[in-house]
Amino acid sequence: MIKYTVQRLFALLLTLWVILTIAFLVIRLMPGSIYEDTDLPPRLLETMEARYQLNEPMIVQYWYFVQNIARGDWGTSIAIRVSVPVWEVLYSRIPVSLLLNLLSLFISLPIGILAGILAALFQNRRTDHAISFAVVLFVSVPSFVFATLLQYTLAFRFGWFPIVYSTSPGGTPYWWSMILPITALALGPIARVTRYLRGELIETISSDFMLLARTKGLTVFQATVRHAMRNSLLPLANIIIPMFTSILTGSLVIERIFAIGGVGGLLVNSLNANDHPLTVAILVFYSLVSLLTILVVDLSYGLIDPRVRVGGSKNE
């Protein structure tokens, strides 16, 4: 297991380096200058661009970039928060994005599991049809559409919730303002968990050991919760972690709609402002989250099912 973990970690670092290189090249090759001022005299413009080695060939720029990163210097923001180290800019925005995404995930799990059980137990009946309809709706309609609808109806028309996220952390108004964005983000994951669990449970319920459980006198509900759920929840664990990455990406638009000062808006702004160091850092952050997610999933496979452990001895 240790060898397997080390191999996966090495693969992660290699992938991250490739991503970093591609991000650097793509961003530096994009048209646009960090100095958009059209009135700069040519000599001054040359001097200012030389400061960031923008006058050097791409390979030389890349070498400077590599050297700086090796020293732990990722540069400072040049447009979004001028002269502030890029990771400091990110750190100031990550907590709210993380909170939003984790809460969405935590809320979506119990609701999705409950809905999945109900749909499986009442297969092909009204309850199942209603849940399946909601699942199709939540999976096929993007989260930002729900966000807009929720904001317009519940916040603007009825006034039950704040229209935008509260900037004062803590207290009832703050948490109240989080409800709509979290709901908008959670609908998709709820649908995915429900659909997955329903499928797993229906298959399990029809197996022989469930028939045995019923003949022993258990009710359908008891047999499902005590026996079928155990088998179905293990594979579910493997979709939960990747869902986090999925929610994180989805929150880009949700943050914009509810004016949440998270990482999502930062990426769009830094791209538009040609803030190259910050854009690279954000891309690395997203890549790192995705790669870590994949790593955790890979390792959890081994923990959940010893048969899939790579590099393990035959006796294990």
């Binding site: 994009m30 048209p31 646009g32 200058s33 100095y35 958009e36 001022d37 059209t38 009135d39 700069l40 005299p41 040519p42 000599r43 001054l44 413009l45 001097t47 200012m48 400061r51 400072t76 447009a79 979004i80 928060r81 001028v82 002269s83 502030v84 800019v89 100031s92 925005r93 807009t148 904001q151 317009y152 916040a155 603007f156 006034g159 229209i163 935008v164 996220y165 900037t167 914009r256 709609i257 509810f258 004016a259 949440i260 000062g261 998270g262 808006g265 930062l266 702004n269 791209l271 538009n272 402002a273 040609n274």
Partner: protein, 590 residues
Amino acid sequence: MLLYIRKSARILALSVLFGTLFLGHAWGGGGQEAAPAQASVGDAPSETGSGMLRLTVGRPLETLNPHQQAATDTADFLNLITGKLYRFAPGPGGVGFEILSELAAAPPVPVDDEGTVWRITVRDDALWANGEPITAEDFLYSWQMVMDPVLLNHRANAFHGSQVQVVNALEYVVGDVSWDDVGIDLIDDSTFEFTLILPVTEFMLMNFFSNLSVSLVYPPLYEAGMNADRSTTNYGTDVDRMVSSGPFMVDSWRQGSEYTAIKNPNYVFADRIWLAGVNNRVIAESGTVMQLFERGEVDFVELSDADFQRFREDPRIIEVPARSVQRIVINLLSTDKPILQDVRFRQALFFATDRATSASVSSTIPANYIIPTTHVMNVDDGTLYRNTPEARAILTPNLGYDPDLARELFDAAMADAGLDTLSLQLAYHEGVEARRAVSEYLQQHWNQVFGGRLQISLQAVPSSQLAARLREYPNNNNAFDLGWTGTGHDDFNPVSALAHYYSGTARRKGPYFSDEYDSLYETVLAMPIDDLQGRLELIAEAERVMLEDASFVPVTQGLGFGLASDRVEFMSDGWSIALRYGWKWARIVD
């Protein structure tokens, strides 16, 4: 035709509106210092002010350092909290404007007859928000730092503008001369002497020193924030890393979401500031801002086209003309499409452009000119450049729309090029509804005018990348065929609108080369500043040269609409060139 008359009437109305603002302005005695005016409405403001103005902005605050700001939203906020030598303020009774000697003791004093050497004395009673006195040394430090050749601030060209150019300022930034050679000298404890390359008027200098780029930074914190090699400072990267000196001071800054300024009781003209503070909430989604406004949670909203239709009869509507003309740049260096080098083809596009309809589909005003209607030619009587006979004389009739002439020119150019049909790509700003609407209209309209022989394909491009593409010509002759552009300038100096096309400017708005134009530009910059008529004639001539060359097809001048809540009472007449919305002078009437 009716549409044309309506649009023309709108231009006329706007011109009259701006003219009125200038005719009504008060100078504080023809250039003498304006005494702090008494409040024109109700009681005097309290020490802490009353009522919080709640605004929204599209982008987060980027810095609190005036040397590094670039975005408009950031500049607007820094204008609230940063002290300057001079500042525009509403005129007496809210009519027009006046220029306050904010941190200067008096207006600039000319030393020579040409208008190239001036003296300005700093006030001795001005304070930082922390209570310390503001000194001439603070200004000197701020100016030296903005031009520092190692720091290379975003605003390092502050003293090398189009008209106000301090001797050796540019040479100092690029490291050719020492600070002692720069034309800024402190001749006593509180008086500066400026030596300029080009002659300027008193107004030009006061206008220049009302700019953010040449405003104050707090020296102790600026120095404390320097890194080891003095190549950067963390001044203004957080609330506790700067000190305010303007009408307001920073109260809070929540990264990415909100920032607030409160009234600065130490401000020289604190008795003219009514507001307790200004809160800016960062909200990028225009629909969200509209909902907040309708729920009374913010005090101002910029209206989208759709929202404008809903509110067009609302008396609270504020009309805001864009300070630039939206024009299509033609790539006259294209080797893929050499016909673009043919002036007849470019003129064909100019005359085939129905500007009245283009303006109609985009809620803008038609423009067959390069210098916008907002530019003032004579600041003494408020004469707008576009209202002068010289500027009118160069305009083509019917807003420059002549489809018959366009077809004639097009046919001749196509015949010489041996082409039956031609396909061109028009790049427009992604996310700008007005630009998309006009592009789509011109796509079908030009096709119609030229009998189906000109096919236009459209491409939406992010703004910064579109600008870069238009400037790519030194390295790539075929970076674009046609592309939209438009830039604001110094409204009090029409010459500034010509600077973007001068060959001595680094990042021009597209490939344009004309020795005749360059010569006219250089001449108008160097001529006596009081020769208004001579300057006017040269500016008009330069604009004519550019229009005839048709490297740019001017189409529209933007028109924005804002809606302010009833709780806001302006101290000026809505939006104006000098004061914009004049938020800092407004008051809340809850």
